[in-house]
Symmetry: C2
Subunit: 356 residues, 2 copies
Amino acid sequence: MKIGIIGGGQLAQMMALAAHPLGLKTICLEPTPHCPASLVTEVMVGAYDDNEKLQALANAVDVITYEFENISTAALNHLKQFCIYPPTQALTISQDRLQEKRLFEHLQIPTTRYTTIHSLMDLQAAIKSIGLPAVLKTRRLGYDGKGQYVLKNNEDIISAWENLKTQPLLLENKVAFDREVSCIGVRSQTGEIIFYDLIENQHKEGVLHLSQITCTNTAMEKLAQDYVTRILIEFNYVGVLTVEFFVKDNVLIANEIAPRVHNSGHWTLEGADTSQFENHLRAICGLPLGSTTTRGKVAMLNLVGVLPDLTTLLKLPHAHLHIYGKAPRPGRKLGHVTLCTQDSSIFAAELKKLIG
Amino acid sequence: MKIGIIGGGQLAQMMALAAHPLGLKTICLEPTPHCPASLVTEVMVGAYDDNEKLQALANAVDVITYEFENISTAALNHLKQFCIYPPTQALTISQDRLQEKRLFEHLQIPTTRYTTIHSLMDLQAAIKSIGLPAVLKTRRLGYDGKGQYVLKNNEDIISAWENLKTQPLLLENKVAFDREVSCIGVRSQTGEIIFYDLIENQHKEGVLHLSQITCTNTAMEKLAQDYVTRILIEFNYVGVLTVEFFVKDNVLIANEIAPRVHNSGHWTLEGADTSQFENHLRAICGLPLGSTTTRGKVAMLNLVGVLPDLTTLLKLPHAHLHIYGKAPRPGRKLGHVTLCTQDSSIFAAELKKLIG
């Protein structure tokens, strides 16, 4: 089988690397020829919404998938007769924070309070109702903290409004959460649903910094899996789906969905029996899913902006390096490190060295 | 760093797949353009002993390694000023069963009794001394049971002699071994030596069929590691080295060395903290070695001749598939399956289904 991947970043790269051993071929549609995926697979150079290229991609493969949300669903709709997984309906909803909120409400999944904003007057009224601090977000095209502003005072309100006012907006109450978690589920073409252990995530400047497994076998994990199951079934979903939650007083508050493999699941490459990348491919290709059991103690640290000294990193005997082949740039994800061992005390000692 | 690999088969393919996440680049020298490695890395098409191509390869990379023994060391000797790991001296000795035997004797590692054979008269005299059954082997270019004949009676002697007489030969006593094991060691550029768990191997028609970890923490494992250490130090070795032993009445009898990653170590891809491929690359690139700890219960089954139904295989939740992308042919290694889980009873049940 051959899989067409829209996007050629590190997620596409890791999918391609997972595809080879399964005997699956991949090709990415990506405007940047020297993208991370180009190091490991064929790349069709073209814009994500280039109808002609999308058509050529569809003609060349058995199934189409994607590595990020910001893809023109209008363009994908021209390919309706082709096999696209995850379903484009999930993609459409994940692209629009308002539709996402409505999905959560429809499926009775707790989420933040929110109001749509069309004018400064709307914004001021919404703040009266929701209170401060609040977060003003673009409805579309946000990622890694981009396209959103935290509002704490009047000055913030004016500057955020000036920066975002040309776009459809949403105001949400800012949850003073205790922690953030993500739940990664996989649904096969036969409807089988399995989960990875619930992941606790720490962010730095809006970008994922550290993921760890801290809530295994808790009631909260069960509940998160129940929520994700509702979404998977709603969309007759096939592939990996990630849902991010805030946790406040042990209550889960859904933040957003990502209909794809996810940064918070990179630890599964070494830390789970079968990685999220392999299980995504298995799902979309109609193959049976592999075990998602966690292998001992696991953590994943993103390498952002500049790469640290890799020899120092690899001196940790249980560290695994993943370099994406991207040029350094502030705030850019250049790679990640996984720590994985059965021994809790070795894990603690190496993690301390890793995160300093 | 960029690594030149001589050979483009599945071992080169798996090295290239291990190189990408480490940010290492690879290029293979291989006469067949559509080789397994070509699916995942750059290939320089040329004969293994093409001096010009070897020179071009050396100029393009930081270090040269190889995926099999049958490489012209004469050709490599032209590249003496370049960095070649493992050392070519180990390669030279592994290419000649006589030199290999003398190495074992020199390092006081028990091996089979043997005699060099230059004539039918030599052969008949040697059989009188060594007895039957015995094995007549070419000194050079043997692998997967090729280039050797088991002699049980007079007829065998005549036909084996007729088939092999143009080549330098060795007669060995045939050990009625209880089992076969292999020991895989890795030595870094700083002289650090680590081992994977001792592996028990079953062959079918001269080709490796099944590898399992059955002798962990035994006195025999310690002794095997001691023997391999002697060889690693003898050569000031850098990289992965595999030594195959017969076991008879719990005594280790060295059979052969392979100065490279080895089929009996394929289980390390999922079954060890760091795979043999990654540790080989780390060693030859001067990086620290990664943990070799085995992750629970592990087995590796070769897929030889024809591929079985892959969906059926993947229905085993702890099975991992590795397809090399080669055309089916009797006796040809087309891929392998690893089984790996912490749970002994699940492992036993899945292994039973896997090997039927």
